[in-house]
């Protein structure tokens, strides 16, 4: 078993190295016909002439190609900007599409082979490592050696992993033209699903889904015998695979807007943006359903389900960000900061982002109905600031890149505006709580240590108080790791949910307020 697992790691690393090297192989050659086929009509003539020095040239690397492309493209734009000919400046980003179209070589010719050598190999290696985990071991908590692991306790390997993830996100969001070979590799898959060539977002969605599925299987192994964890993990795997990955692609196949039915504003911050509304409104009955469904989720779904089940119904059962955190991020859950200071920062940040998202959306809607008179450009500015700072920087680079450094719920805890909204409902009007079992707590600290949201669970448990916190996503791990059966996630009567007086039992001398 051990040998198979070592083999798994080796195979995974080969896949990962291949994945990291593939962007740099092949050559690039741009032709006039390629430019004509890939740019908007209004830019066609300008670009055909701007890029003409590149035609027929064979570039041996994407670095050279992109550098040359940027030179031509930027000097054209810069000249226009200098002369204040703003209307002629090309604001569209053609770097990615043209680099992708110009890419020649082995990946273009054999996409499946490279897919096999990289992602498929990494998945196979991951499974070889995961499937034999904890075989022949009784059910129980599998946390031995976590704090001796360099990967899981912010050691060198953890830091390297975090750095790799951060770099990957930076390239994905801001320099996708360097990833074109990887995108070409999944083109056939995208064609099969949606009838369209792949974008960097398809590649990302594909890897993201695979990560949730493979690491979800790891959860099944790690928490075998724990029904709550097993069912919950199966749920996030299903919602990611079906709702976030397959259904949106199939919608595109039927000429519908790409739509993730389980994504809810304000996490889905662009839901009320003009292009999204127009897309839905112009897509017939299904489009209208998307719009109504989306609004229903916001005004009815969130309060109602959160009242009955707490925010866990979304955050740790349905959400894609939560899904990745609960699977890929599970090995890092203990790295979240439990200090009171972190909690203070969290409250300002997460509610600040919520306010930002609400203000932005109100602006957008007001703008939409006033026919873009008043706030036209300002709204676009706000959209791009939010997109850059919150959507990309916070949710992506920090949210996932910092898994091995600050735990797996950095985004959910400090940044997600939907989590903030769900949290307000959960804190003030919900039947959900984590019940503390009388006086059985021994203050050991396993619950707090393994709380991915950085809640100091023990603080409440040791004073016999139920845990009612806005941030709790109901992952159930505190309850799983408790050695004395002190914690139970449950939905129940609202009376007695927040108990000021302790329910510590056993001392009949006096009842002291804790």
């Amino acid at each position: 078993m051990r040998k198979i697992q070592v083999l798994g790691i080796v195979v995974f690393l080969i896949g990962l190295i291949a994945f990291s090297l593939i962007p740099f192989i092949g050559y690039y050659q741009l032709e006039e016909s390629t430019v004509r086929a890939n740019v908007k009509d209004i830019h066609e003539e300008q670009l055909v002439s701007v890029l003409s020095p590149m035609y027929g040239q064979r570039y041996s690397s994407n670095f050279r190609f992109i550098a040359d492309f940027n030179d031509h493209f930027n000097s054209y734009n810069d000249a226009l900007k200098e002369n204040q000919e703003w209307d002629n400046v090309i604001w569209d980003d053609y770097g990615f599409v043209l680099t992708k179209a110009a890419s020649m070589g082995p990946v273009t010719e054999h996409p499946y082979l490279f897919l096999l050598l990289s992602i498929a190999l990494a998945v196979a290696g991951g499974l070889l490592y995961i499937l034999p985990m904890h075989r022949k071991e009784p059910n129980g908590i599998k946390h031995d050696g976590i704090y001796f692991s360099s990967m899981k306790s912010r050691g060198l390997i953890g830091i390297i992993t975090g750095t790799y993830l951060i770099l990957f996100y930076i390239v994905l969001y801001w320099f996708p033209e360097y990833l074109t070979n990887l995108v070409l590799m999944v083109d056939p898959l995208s064609m099969a699903l949606s009838g369209n060539p792949a974008s960097q977002w398809f590649l990302y969605g594909f890897i993201y889904t695979l990560a949730i599925v493979v690491m979800g299987i790891r959860m099944f192994r790690k928490y075998k015998g724990n029904a709550y964890q097993t069912i919950r993990t199966a749920s996030v795997m299903f919602f990611q695979l079906a709702f976030a990955f397959l259904i949106p692609e199939i919608l595109v196949l039927f000429n519908m807007p790409w739509h993730d039915f389980k994504n809810i504003w304000p996490l889905d911050y662009s839901f009320f943006f003009e292009y999204r509304i127009d897309g839905m409104v112009s897509s017939g009955a299904l489009g209208m359903f998307m719009l109504v469904w989306g609004i229903l989720l916001i005004v009815v779904g969130v309060p109602l389900f959160t009242y009955f089940y707490g925010k866990r119904w979304y955050c740790s059962w349905v959400c894609g960000c939560g899904g990745l955190a609960e699977t890929l991020g599970d090995p890092y859950r203990q790295l979240s900061d439990k200090s009171l200071k972190a909690w203070k920062v969290e409250r300002y940040l997460v509610h600040g982002v919520l306010v930002f998202a609400v203000v932005m959306t109100v602006m957008t809607i007001a703008n939409y109905f006033t026919g873009f008179g008043l706030l036209g450009n300002a709204t676009n500015q706000v959209h791009s600031i939010y997109g850059f700072m919150i959507g990309s920087m916070f949710a992506g680079v920090i949210g996932t890149g910092f898994y091995p450094l600050m735990g797996n719920r950095v985004w959910c805890r400090f940044g997600c505006p939907l989590a903030a909204y769900l949290g307000i409902v959960q804190r003030f009007k919900s039947r959900f709580r984590i019940t503390t079992n009388g006086g059985q707590c021994i203050s050991c600290g396993n619950c707090s240590t393994y709380c991915e949201m950085g809640i100091d669970v023990r603080w409440y448990a040791q004073r016999g108080q139920n845990i009612v916190r806005a941030s709790c996503v109901g992952c159930g791990v505190c309850s799983a790791v408790c050695p004395r059966g002190v914690l139970k996630l449950e939905n129940g009567e609202e009376t007695g949910r927040v108990n000021e007086f302790p329910i510590i039992i056993g001392n009949n001398t006096v009842t002291l307020k804790n």
Partner: protein
């Protein structure tokens, strides 16, 4: 008490001392509070020591309060060992030579591991597990250990065995009794745990006693010899045969005092206290593991209470008494305790003796998988519930506290048993099987109100 601010000095920063300090501060903002500990700078959870060794947590995670907490609550902390106590002068001396006065002294010095004079018990590689220093020593010895022998079939013994198994170190576990912890657990429960120990590849030797520990030429452990004459090679011997009150320094201090003709602290196995935790000396109190009640609290309670929960209750009670004009005598409620044997959790409420008592009966149900079991002990005549043992099944403390205190009949307990289930959602609850077992034994049918579909959907237990 003098007219200025009262100075309360607590020796020991474990659960009793710290609970007492916290509650005094809550009820009295003026007193000066000082906690002295030689073991650690800050309060940590002793019960979590094993998790540090197993890599589940680091030391810092075992501290229930952040380090700023103490200053914020004006609870002063001093690191040091107390070497001298002058009760007449109300002063104490630290090993560093520092001296200080107190108005109220609270002894909360905890326990120390037992060792019963085995030949070789002082060798390198022989130790108990109680303090942070014990853990550090265990960590230091670990690289040399090819096999560990753990002596004593109790709670710390099984923890130590689990700790070594987490590092893939082979363990031989010597248990004097016929089954694991059977001085406390009835035979069926003890046997269930026996099987679970073996499942974890721990070499469990029942009815095996230690005779002596063998040394190599450097004074380190080479092996042990059992009373049956078997020699087991090992590099570590864990002595986990219970703990006793940590009062040795008080004994030697008494000797000093009596030489000077001063009155001494009354000690027996522990520090003798009243129900108000008063020692024989005015303004000196003792709480937690180190205290021994002069008079029995109840037929089913021991005079020395050595668990986390009682330490906490002692601290609460004394804090109340020190800050109240109407002191109350310590009245513990329904007994409860818990532990975890490798992967199997154990909870107990009320009185479950290891063997049936006259006039009582019990029903024992065990899951066919051998990982879940429950025993309900009741009065034969009235069928009033007396106590419950649960293995692998989390039970609601409040439910059994009420049921036992109010003397519910078995019928009342069983027909409401689903409300006592504290297992996580989606886990099987063995309620039905237990009710069936009771009905089969007694012929009494138990009816249970069905939960409506709506209530099940919203996850309500009512």
């Amino acid at each position: 008490m003098n007219n200025t601010v009262r100075k309360i000095v607590i020796i020991g920063n474990g659960i009793s001392g710290v609970t007492c300090a916290r509650h005094v501060r809550k009820r009295d903002s003026s007193s000066e509070i000082l906690i002295i500990s030689g073991e650690s700078d800050h309060f940590f959870s002793r019960t979590a020591l094993m998790y540090i060794y197993m890599g589940h947590m680091k030391y810092e995670h075992t501290k229930p309060y952040e380090d700023w907490f103490w200053e914020k609550n004006r609870i002063a902390l001093i690191r040091g060992w107390v070497t001298g106590l002058d009760y007449a002068a109300k002063a104490l001396t630290l090993a560093s030579g520092e001296q200080m006065a107190y108005d109220t002294l609270i002894l909360a010095t905890g326990s120390t591991p037992n060792a019963f004079g085995w030949p070789g018990q002082e060798l390198k590689g022989v130790q108990g597990l109680y303090s942070l220093q014990d853990l550090e020593q265990m960590e230091e010895t670990t690289p040399r250990i090819q096999r560990a022998v753990v002596v004593g079939g109790g709670l710390i013994g099984i923890e130590m065995a689990e700790m070594f198994r987490s590092r893939d170190i082979p363990v031989t576990f010597l248990v004097r009794e016929r089954n694991f912890w059977d001085a406390v657990l009835p035979t069926e429960e003890a046997k269930l745990i026996n099987r679970h120990i073996l499942e974890h590849h721990i070499d469990l030797r029942l009815e095996t006693e230690l005779k002596e520990i063998l040394a190599d030429e450097t004074g380190s452990v080479l092996g042990v010899v059992t009373k049956a004459g078997e020699e087991i090679a090992c590099q570590f011997v864990g002595l986990t045969v219970g703990v006793r009150p940590n009062i040795d320094f008080l004994k030697s201090n008494n000797e000093q005092l009596s030489k000077q003709g001063q009155s001494t602290l009354e000690l027996n196995r522990g520090i003798l206290v009243s129900g108000f935790f008063e020692t024989n000396i005015a303004d000196v109190y003792a709480i937690g593991d180190c205290a021994e009640f002069r008079e029995s609290l109840a037929p089913d309670r021991k005079n020395i209470e050595q668990v986390w929960y009682t330490g906490r209750m002692h601290g609460e009670t004394l804090a109340y008494n020190l800050t109240s004009s109407t002191p109350a005598s310590y009245k513990p409620g329904v007994w409860f305790n818990s532990a975890k044997f490798l992967d199997i959790e154990y909870q107990t409420y009320g009185h479950v003796p290891p063997f049936p008592l006259e006039g009582s009966d019990s029903i024992y149900w065990e899951d066919p998988n051998g990982k879940v079991a429950i025993r309900l002990v009741y009065e034969k005549e009235s069928t009033k519930l007396l106590g419950v043992n649960a293995l692998g099944w989390r039970l609601r403390h409040a439910f059994f506290d009420t049921a036992i205190a109010e003397g519910w009949t078995m019928e009342a307990v069983l027909s409401n048993l689903h409300k006592a289930n504290f297992n996580p959602e989606f886990f099987d609850s063995p309620t039905k099987a237990v009710i069936a077992a009771y009905s089969q034994k007694t012929g009494v049918a138990i009816s249970r109100k069905k939960t409506s579909f709506f209530h099940r959907i919203i996850g309500s237990r009512s």
